[in-house]
């Protein structure tokens, strides 16, 4: 698993990356909330918010191809939900609601993407801690983030091993059972690893309290 799998663009050095993380969190939540609160009939205000988000994204030098790839994955789901409203009225109305859903979710999605790809996860966590997230939750998030990489690697190794043992595609039922065993074994290995990590933490003086992440 490449190390930049999750935080791909968040280690840049643009003005957006250098901005304090708590300011960015507040700004993003502000944009998303503003977008949700302003009725779509005030479309100039919505357009301003969208422009703000696009300006942020281009200042952060996030590649357009990446944004388009993410939007291609994201838009069909939203469009499906949005079309449900006119569909339920026999396409005789409800288009305003559908448009509102699409515009709001797109602006909010891009704003969240901007925050995520300009802030490394540990900075984000420290900022959210300062803004009132419970310490235990933040500590757990940091731990999970640390070991997600390890488990992805473990999973990749186990899949390679499984492929090496299985010469040909088997029946659907066998494939299913094999995949179930894969998940079960991943669970067992991870929990055993948690025991070992716990031992290592205790032997290094772990007393159940997370220290500052900053």
């Amino acid at each position: 698993m490449p190390a930049d799998f999750l935080d791909r663009y968040s280690f840049g050095n643009t003005i957006c990356h250098r901005c304090p993380a708590s300011l960015k969190v507040l700004l993003t939540v502000g944009v998303i909330a503003g977008c949700a609160l302003i009725p779509v009939s005030y479309w100039p205000a919505q357009g301003c918010l969208a422009c703000l988000v696009f300006a942020g994204l281009s200042l952060a030098e996030i590649p357009l191809a990446y944004l388009i790839r993410r939007l291609v994955l994201f838009l069909p789901l939203v469009l499906m939900t949005a079309v449900a409203v006119p569909l339920a009225r026999g396409f005789a109305g409800g288009w305003e609601t559908a448009a509102a859903v699409v515009i709001r979710s797109m602006v909010a999605f891009l704003a969240a993407l901007w925050l995520v790809s300009t802030t490394p996860f540990d900075r984000l966590l420290a900022a959210m801690c300062r803004l009132g997230m419970p310490r235990l939750f933040a500590g757990l998030l940091a731990f999970t983030y640390r070991y997600v990489y390890v488990l992805f690697d473990e999973l990749a190794r186990m899949k390679t091993a499984q492929r090496a043992r299985t010469f040909q595609p088997q029946s659907a039922w066998r494939t299913w059972a094999g995949t179930t065993h894969l998940v079960g074994m991943l669970l067992i290995r991870a929990l055993d690893r948690a025991e070992r990590i716990h031992g290592a933490m205790v032997s290094r003086g772990w007393r159940g309290k997370m220290h500052d992440l900053d």
Binding site: L6, I32, T97, R104, A112, L140, L151, E154, W173
Partner: protein
């Protein structure tokens, strides 16, 4: 599926957020009360496992598509309901903060539908069933049924949230409800199969990892009892779905009368009928058959899940017996 921002109204997001924050806060407090130094490594690792396991693609047995695990019930069974709830909240938060999967305002709704219902509610159902029926069969049956119900309940909750958000839009609530629950009762069968498979594998390989609730004295897994409970459960689900269906038929006509929609009504596409259990020779989208077919779909779903539970239980038991026999021979 993660709910993006803008799909639910602000009030609904706020309400769901308050409920989710309450549940997660309660779970965190429970974790803090029963604190051992092990809490953070175990819960954090469980969240990482669910995160990674959601990436594993399962081939659907009937269609050329892939499904994946949701994991709330699995987490709750392995580490207990409170830690499971926190683990699911962590997974959903990470997906939001790393991939922008699911909106920031809709986090409460996402956590409620996909995490809290599965871990807290699912564990309640699981412990109810596995306390009644001793042994691995009870554990697996509990896991399978809880997994299926958690998916269906999550989709029902989404329907409630969605309708509350768009209540001004003369929305066809019962129809949406019927489509979503019927569709998700199929998705839930996948979740039930995966959860049941993983739990039975764990039971065969590392039974000490399963957080088995204290079993009631004299709880024996008789076949008759399983079938009896299953029949009652199927009827209960049907009874639960039927009023929505009947309300659908009546409410539809009511709206049509009120708004003089009758001409439009005839041309309206009926997405429900694709998902209903087909009754040969009868047009399912009209009249009283509507309610019967939705109820029948519920009964089929429940029976399928019970069948899975039963088969997996059998396999697990025969494996355990085999191991015991081997152990006695070796000893």
């Amino acid at each position: 599926m993660h709910i993006a921002d803008g799909i639910l109204s602000n009030e609904v997001c706020l309400g769901a957020g308050v409920i989710a924050a309450g549940a997660i806060g309660l779970s965190l407090r429970k974790l803090n009360d029963t604190v051992s130094l092990r809490t953070i490594p175990l819960t954090g690792m469980m969240a990482a496992v669910i995160f990674a396991a959601q990436m594993v693609k399962f081939p659907l047995l009937l269609a050329p598509a892939y499904g994946h695990l949701l994991g709330g019930v699995l987490a709750a069974i392995v580490v207990g309901p409170w830690a499971g709830c926190v683990a699911m909240a962590l997974v959903l938060f990470l997906q939001m903060a790393l991939f922008a999967d699911g909106g920031w305002l809709a986090y409460g709704a996402n956590a409620l539908n996909m995490g809290i219902v599965g871990s807290l509610g699912g564990h309640a159902i699981y412990s109810l069933i596995s306390r009644r029926f001793a042994g691995p069969r009870g554990t697996i049956a509990g896991a399978v049924i809880a997994a299926w119900l958690s998916v269906v309940a999550g989709s029902a909750l989404f329907c409630v949230e969605f309708t509350l958000s768009h209540h001004g839009a003369e929305f066809d609530i019962p129809r949406l409800f019927a489509v979503m629950t019927t569709f998700h009762s199929l998705i839930g069968v996948g979740e039930a199969l995966i959860t049941g498979g993983v739990v039975s594998y764990l039971l065969a390989v590392r039974p000490d990892l399963i957080d088995a609730p204290h079993q009631l004295p004299g709880a024996a897994a008789g076949l008759g009892r399983v079938v009896w409970t299953g029949a009652v459960a199927a009827l209960a689900v049907a009874a639960f779905l039927a009023p929505f269906a009947s309300e659908g038929a009546d409410g539809l006509e009511q709206t049509a009368d009120d708004l003089k929609f009758a001409a439009l009504e005839k041309e309206r596409p009926a997405p429900v009928s694709d998902y209903e259990a087909p009754i040969p020779g009868v047009d399912v989208s009209t009249g009283a058959w509507h309610k019967v077919s939705v109820a029948l779909a519920g009964v089929f779903g429940t029976s399928a899940v019970l069948g899975i539970a039963f088969v997996l239980g059998r396999i697990a038991r025969s494996k355990l017996v085999l191991r015991e026999v081997e152990a006695t021979h070796a000893g």
